[in-house]
Subunit: 186 residues, 2 copies
Amino acid sequence: MPPSASAAPLSFSLAEARALLERTSAILDTWLRGLPDAWLHANEGGETWSPYDVLGHYIHGEKADWIPRLRRMLEHGTAVPFDKFDRFAQVRDSEGKSAADLLDELARRRGESLAALDGFGLDETALDRRGLHPELGEVTVRELLACWVAHDLDHLMQIARVLAHRHAGEVGPWRAYLRIISGSPG
Amino acid sequence: MPPSASAAPLSFSLAEARALLERTSAILDTWLRGLPDAWLHANEGGETWSPYDVLGHYIHGEKADWIPRLRRMLEHGTAVPFDKFDRFAQVRDSEGKSAADLLDELARRRGESLAALDGFGLDETALDRRGLHPELGEVTVRELLACWVAHDLDHLMQIARVLAHRHAGEVGPWRAYLRIISGSPG
């Protein structure tokens, strides 16, 4: 069953959010560095993303999304909306780079992002500050940070799903038991 | 969109499968070791599993599922069906153990499983050998190995989803963009 917002029992903790944010690039490194190209460039068909594409998307997030938007909120509140985020920038930015190059760059950029986050010294009042998303309207710093964590996890989930897709036709009758392949919500 | 079996373009490769199998315990270690308990013991409500529970399930798979079933197929073909797999064994087996204990045990057992797999020296003929699943009927060695990989990925996906669930009520209007939280298939 898809989780419902109302069922989430716990409130946001900056320290706990950071504990996941600081792991993401290392998880990706452990998972993808040296993996055969057949896995790195597998996708779910058509214009869907491969793990390699997802790495570029994470990097673009470090450059254009999380810390730049957080800084915009702290400096301008809702007076200046966020710049729009280009979900396809990685096609251009990843050109000519190996997966290892992207993993190195992501680790470096994520480290810089966390140093910037720590430098803001956010307290509970700062977490309540508001900014203006160009499509979604007003959002809080707390929501941005919770979204950063969830976005990291969303694309880890995507990588698992994309990789499993390569075996979708190979698992025989076990297909029924594998939610990642059957697409069953249960 | 859930992937369809017919869209999977590539065929099973033992070497490529092994490349993912050998990473799983290290991915889990990078992700979960030292993570705050609020994350390790988060679940999706009711009897759903936490990341800690999933670790125990992986360990039980090493003990009772993958290599024991593979050995059964190679020794007895379809003459002796697999033993049934207890999906809740980890509740008993994990008792009193920390997440760090489970990560250590999984790394050790996965290493032993891969050594056993290598020892079988499976060729294409061996990949076609058949065994008897107590509920699903005849399966091949190739299907078992493809299922092992997909099962690893299925539970990595589950951990990402369970962790993101903690932020389901915290991401504000970004909820609409986060497939991992909205449950949207698209």
